[in-house]
């Protein structure tokens, strides 16, 4: 390929040639000679091509939680028979990442069969699946008049998983629990620490279970019964179709939602529960119920790709369609949403009507934090939105527990506070 420098010299040559012909000046025509010999010499010494150059990339680690440093190792090999001199190697890096150490742009001189390993480190603080590559290779001939450009299309990916906060977990009262011991109150007597009731002592019961006061009153041995604690099925539903759009506020709300979901999933899976996920945003994604570390990784992986936005299908439709397929009946559903759209109210109501036990965690920014100072119209809109949201919370609190969460406050603190309010959920009429 012609370089801009060659084009410039060609223009100069034709300019001199034209002026020389017009003026019929032999001296001017003489000036063409060095340029012509330059072109000739350039064609005599062509550079090696980039065809024989192979590029391989290795990223470590490929996954990081919250934010992380990714080390990129680029292995460039000259498989050709000629020496490659002045090979420019430019590795494309994602916009969200910045270079922490080294540089993604190199100039190499490689002998035949020689391999060079080049490294640089990226710092990425933004959640998501990011791609490194392709690699652009550029090689100029000795005089810089011809350029060979090639793109090594190999692309590597790394993921910045959502940040996980250590949370105490919300108080959950699902209608249905599993058979394995866990931490969720099952409303059945068995092994546990919460008092459940009294019954007559049976041979084989532990003597420390005897309730002496009740036994004295009834003149028979009476034992305490405790509420058994079991594992349960918990479905997380995230609504990332924020009405704030792609504004900093919208991004903060969505990030808070994702972080809350990741923290809750990590906590609940650690307790042995089965956890599933439905995320609604720019893309829809879901994970069926399962337990264990692999499930946590699966959920984190899906949460990584959650982006603020809306799709053609309404959230109500999506959740109503997926919930019966993915989640066990009468299990616990935790909806994480700013409750800023009317359709989320319908979604929660229809899930409650299907028999799921509901908990809504609602992140919402208030006042000056939300849209910045000075914009009166925006502040007014936000105030109206806050009032509408309060109405939605009021309506939903009849069928579900609602935790109003300011994302600037840690979730664990909000959940601790929420545990103290014992709002008895009402059955939907």
């Amino acid at each position: 390929m012609r370089s801009p420098q060659l084009s410039l010299l060609l223009v100069l040559s034709f300019l001199i040639l034209s002026v020389g012909l017009i003026l019929q000046s032999q001296l001017l025509m003489i000036l063409i000679l060095p340029l012509l010999s330059l072109f000739f010499l350039s064609s005599l010494y062509p550079s090696a091509t980039t065809e024989g150059v192979r590029v391989r990339r290795k990223l470590s680690p490929r996954m990081s939680v919250g934010k992380g440093q990714i080390r990129v190792e680029l292995e460039v090999t000259n498989l050709g028979r000629r020496r490659v001199e002045g090979l420019e190697v430019y590795d494309e890096v994602p916009e969200e990442a910045r270079i922490e150490k080294g540089l993604n742009h190199f100039l190499l001189c490689l002998n035949p069969e020689e391999t060079q390993t080049l490294t640089y480190t990226l710092q990425c603080d933004k959640r998501g699946h990011h791609r490194v590559g392709p690699t652009r290779l550029r090689l100029r001939d000795s005089l810089g008049l011809h350029v060979h450009e090639n793109i090594a299309k190999e692309v590597s990916a790394f993921s910045i998983l959502p940040e996980v906060e250590r949370v105490g977990g919300p108080e959950l009262k699902p209608k249905r629990t599993g058979v394995w011991p866990g931490t969720i109150s099952s409303r059945r007597s068995g092994e546990g620490i919460e008092f459940y009731g009294l019954r007559y002592y049976l041979p084989g019961d532990e003597p420390r279970r005897i309730n002496w006061k009740a036994s004295a009153r009834l003149s028979a041995l009476v034992a305490n019964e405790f509420e058994s604690e079991k594992v349960t099925d918990i479905a997380l539903v995230i609504e990332a179709g924020t009405i704030f759009g792609d504004s900093p506020v919208g991004r903060l709300v969505v990030e808070s939602e994702v972080k809350a979901a990741a923290s809750l999933a990590a906590y609940l899976l650690r307790q042995g529960n089965r956890v599933g996920l439905i995320a609604y945003g720019k893309t829809r994604t879901w994970v069926p119920l399962d337990f264990g570390k692999k499930q946590l990784l699966r959920i984190m992986n899906h949460l990584t790709s959650v982006k603020a936005g809306r799709t053609m299908l309404s959230m109500d439709y999506v959740v109503n369609l997926l919930a019966p397929i993915l989640f066990a009946p009468r299990s616990q559903v935790i909806v994480i949403s700013p409750l800023a759209t009317p359709e989320i109210k319908m979604t929660v109501q229809s899930l409650a009507m299907m028999g799921y036990r509901m908990l809504v965690i609602s992140p919402f920014l208030r006042g000056g934090h939300a849209l910045g100072d000075g914009d009166e119209a925006a502040e007014m809109a936000l105030r109206i939105l806050a009032i509408e949201r309060q109405n939605v919370i009021l309506e939903l609190s009849r069928i579900s527990r609602v935790v109003d969460w300011n994302p600037l406050v840690p979730l664990s603190a909000t959940l601790k506070g929420a545990r103290r309010w014992r709002i008895k959920p009402q059955e939907p009429r």
Partner: protein, 199 residues
């Protein structure tokens, strides 16, 4: 530190190489004294100013300043060539002066990739590893040496072409008018330029 080292090395190499060309160009400024409409002092002043512009452009990485200075030097040479009577000009010296200007451009051209890397380095606040620095040094050393060699080869080749053209001109002069000779040279030049373009 690596950035500073690479930048200093590049500047030193470039200025050292360019100074040779500038010295040749400047030493030949007053070489067409007889009949030239421009006083040689004025011509020398303009050339020195343009050479200074070139050095400044290189040091500050302002490629437009560098290119403008080179274009200025070429325009000055063309102007002097056009307005000086042909008998007062030695074609060999004219060639040497032109080649020295063209190679100022070539030296600048060779350093473009290094400049680009240094620009990235400054913008992204990265750093050069010892391996990268070693490769840049090798590239600069090899490429500048090769360009300097090609400069000499280019001059010799141009002189040879000039002599060949002169002989042919004497021979063809009896048969063809001078305008036709010029047209022939132009056709050959275009053909050679197109032929030298690789696939």
């Amino acid at each position: 530190m690596a950035y500073q080292a690479a930048r200093t090395k590049m500047n030193v190499l470039l200025i050292a190489s360019s100074l040779v060309s500038i010295a040749i160009a400047l030493s030949l400024v007053g070489s067409f004294p007889e009949g030239s409409p421009i006083p040689s002092e004025a011509s020398a002043t303009v050339s020195i100013a343009l050479a200074f512009g070139y050095i400044c452009g290189v040091l500050t990485r302002k490629s437009r300043v560098t290119i403008a200075s080179i274009v200025g030097l070429i325009v000055q040479l063309l102007h002097e060539t056009i307005f000086t009577p042909p008998d007062a000009i030695n074609p060999g010296i004219l060639l040497l002066r032109f080649i020295s200007i063209v190679f100022l451009f070539q030296f600048f051209n060779v350093l473009t990739p290094v400049s680009r890397i240094l620009h990235d380095l400054r913008q992204k606040k990265g750093e050069l590893s010892s391996v990268a620095l070693r490769h840049i040094n090798t590239y600069l050393k090899d490429r500048l040496a090769r360009v300097a060699g090609l400069l000499i080869l280019n001059y010799l080749l141009s002189l040879a072409l000039l002599m060949l053209g002169g002989t042919l001109g004497l021979f063809l002069g009896d048969f063809l008018p001078s305008s036709l000779q010029l047209a022939l040279v132009a056709t050959c030049s275009v053909a050679l330029a197109l032929w030298s373009e690789p696939e």
